[in-house]
């Protein structure tokens, strides 16, 4: 970064940007503290740290807007090892997260359509279509998305990302680092770990070349340490949902998970989760539930339906149902114990082989069974996501087993995480109502 660019970056991001965002946060905090500012009778007011989350996310995208002044930009898949990129000073962008933001802000439909107009099948994952649509049109709800200098694709969530990133590499004409993680039908073998480690070592070489600097081992250890701390805190945050009434629901977690996905390896992420956990502990102590009257508790499986999170959360809360946990958010905490900051490369090879999406349908069923127990869930909603085959295939058998073996009513809810055209309010409302009636019996 040249001196002039450094100054411009700091002026825009660290001084002006940060001040504006801080001001907005204070405004948010002040508004939330005003009596009567929260109107929903069925859902508790948001946690006091919520404006801080908004500030974190906005600052993240702000840094992205000015990244061209000197930071290298890496676009990475959500399950990719990111610590070496953080240690190398990259600005890291997660197209899946960006696509989710587009979904929440009701932009995903038009972006999916733009991708389809360019020839991409409407049957492709709606994250990929949203992202490709955004790349092709330049439209985004976050101001500006920085162009990548390198792409990092880890296949530990699906094969879809590989094709998607190949398309991006072709479009941007930048290097693509592929970290191929053999799918774990059963347990990880030593040879699979060695294969992933060898690729990680190669990945570092490419990332160093693009960044024009060498990876400092201490920095890598530090980023790995922050990752582990954040994952541990995130796990504790989710475990708060085991309390009755649950002070946090999976709907809340869908938003609070943004930093653990896109800001892993950073000190401010650790600080944020520490503050959130402290507040939730307080809510537990005061028996404040996220749903004002909690009669029933449910587990959610699969991605959120981003474009209907609020609608679904209000609908369930009105029926006194709390969504106390989800396999999706759980995925970012459950592997914390495998992260070893003293052996960052070796442990990364193991950790990044083990996400739930890289494991068999039986493992997911086991996870759900355990979560039903741990969170004392009365039933399960399995979001059958037409966009996400790796997460959804197996759900029919899983639903049947959960119902038969645990006696836990389980509903298969057909939808799409980011394409509102595959969602019918009426149909979902009818099916959910019937399911909730069954639950209430």
């Amino acid at each position: 970064m040249s001196l002039a660019n450094q100054l411009r970056y700091h002026l825009n991001v660290s001084i002006v940007g940060n001040s504006v965002l801080r001001l907005q946060r204070w405004q948010g905090e002040w508004q939330m503290s005003r009596p009567g500012s929260w109107q929903n009778a069925h859902i508790a007011p948001p946690v006091a740290v919520a404006p801080r989350l908004k500030e974190l996310i906005s600052r993240h995208y702000l840094k992205g807007q000015y990244a061209h002044l000197g930071r290298k930009v890496a676009w990475v898949t959500s399950g990719a090892p990111v610590e070496f990129l953080v240690a190398l000073g990259y600005f890291v962008l997660y197209p899946e997260n960006h696509a989710a933001v587009c979904g929440i802000r009701r932009m995903s439909e038009s972006l999916c359509t733009a991708a389809e107009d360019a020839g991409y099948s409407p049957d492709l994952c709606s994250y990929a279509r949203t992202d490709i649509g955004s790349v092709l049109t330049g439209k985004t709800p976050v101001g500006k998305v920085p162009r990548p200098d390198v792409l990092v694709c880890c296949t530990n969530i699906c094969q879809t990302v590989l094709f998607w990133y190949r398309v991006l590499a072709h479009h941007f004409n930048v290097p693509l680092i592929v970290i191929d993680t053999p799918f774990l039908y059963t347990e990880a073998t030593e040879r699979a770990v060695a294969y992933v480690k060898a690729q990680l070592e190669d990945a570092v070489i490419v990332a160093e070349r693009v960044a024009g600097r060498s990876l400092g081992f201490d920095k890598l250890k530090q980023a790995t340490r922050y990752s582990r701390q954040a994952c541990e805190l995130w796990m504790k945050i989710m475990e708060c949902g085991q309390h009755r009434p649950a002070p946090i629901t999976a709907f809340d977690e869908f938003f609070h998970m943004a930093p653990i996905v896109e800001m892993r390896g950073e000190a401010f992420t650790v600080d944020y989760y520490a503050a959130l956990l402290a507040e939730l502990e307080q809510r537990k102590a005061n028996n404040i539930g996220a749903v004002t009257v909690e009669s029933k508790r449910l587990l959610w499986d699969n991605l959120p339906v981003w474009h209907r999170v609020r609608w679904l959360s209000e609908m369930l809360a009105e029926r006194q149902v709390a969504l106390v946990a989800s396999t999706y958010t759980n995925a970012w905490g459950e592997l914390a114990h495998l992260v070893d900051p003293e052996r960052p490369m070796e442990s990364a090879a193991t950790v990044y082989l083990h996400p739930i999406l890289n494991r068999g349908t039986g493992h997911k069923l086991k996870t759900m069974r355990r979560m039903v127990d741990d969170y004392q869930a009365d039933g399960v909603i399995l979001h059958s996501d037409r966009s996400c085959k790796p997460y959804s295939i197996g759900q029919i058998g899983q639903r049947n087993r959960l119902a038969d073996e645990l006696g836990a009513p389980a509903l298969l809810l057909e939808a799409d995480h980011n394409d509102p055209r595959a969602f019918s309010n009426e149909q979902v409302a009818t099916r959910l109502s019937a399911f909730l009636e069954l639950l209430e019996k």
Binding site: S121, F163, W164, V167, F183, T361, L365, K389
Partner: protein, 359 residues
Amino acid sequence: MDSTPTRTQVIAEHKRSGGRIAAVFPVHYSRALFRAFNILPVEVWGGGRTGNAGDAHLQAYTCSVVRGVLSAHLTGMLRDAELYCVPHTCDSLQGLGSLFLDLVDPGRPVIPIYLPRDEGPAAVAFMASELRAIYDRLAELTGSRPSDADLQRAIDRECEADSVLAAMLELQGRLALPARAFYAAARSREYLPAEQFAAAGRRLLETTVRREEPAGVPILLSGIVPEPEEILDQLDAAGASIVADDMACCGRRNYAMSTNSDPFGRMAEQILGGPPDSTRGVAVERRLAHLLSLASARRVRAAVFYEVKFCEPEAFYLPQLRRGLEEAGIKTLALEVDISERPSHQIATRIEALLETLA
């Protein structure tokens, strides 16, 4: 290949002679490895009248290949198989392999094969180790341990069959055969023992009349599998001659030769060195370069992408591939099908319309 035995005959004959049968799902694996254990791999691509029993376990947005394979299992059509082999081809086949291991009783051992999505030394080494692990599994199941020399002999036999298939593909469109007959011959590689395929293929090459030029408009056929076969009749009827094949079941398994002295390394190099295939996750640029070179060598005028609905490996690259071919003056047509259903009239009309533009 008129006298080519049917699948049922081949299976019965192999079992009579004391061999075993493995039902293998798409796309890439090592035939030689199974044959070294006297196990005949018989491939199942989900086509035919498999019914819809698979719908009890798979959502409607799963591709018809995977639904067809599961239906075939559930209705007892695969009863002759003593084991299943599930290559890790895509998210959907990954799901199917996992279902068999965890949620749907396969009634026999299931062997998944992970396919590295790279071609560098680490990937080849991993593929070789994967094949070695399968060797151990097969040894455990059969009680035999073929030597390296046995394995090399089995690989040699497959290489011989592959070279015959390559010769057939080279002459595709110039052999005076209906498309359906050509594919019946080429796809008998999916179940015939290599030596029988090689002999039958050589016979076909010797006895079939060769034309100087293809009879119809030369086209390239790309996709996963030409099922149901009526599509081939429709192409013939519209006046197309398939002169270049880029189907996963055929041309994309025209494997590279390798001289590696380690049989596992040799098998791994062959699979990973095969023609660029979306299911191996190769780059778009390489797929396009491959199609352009096939098209130019065979003077192709149009490319038909015959795709299975919900097939992500194929669908992602379609826009780039079509654009690249169109820029080279090759017309393209993309068709999307459910292989368990008969091709619609609309498909025939679209093929006719394409060919009319080239008339």
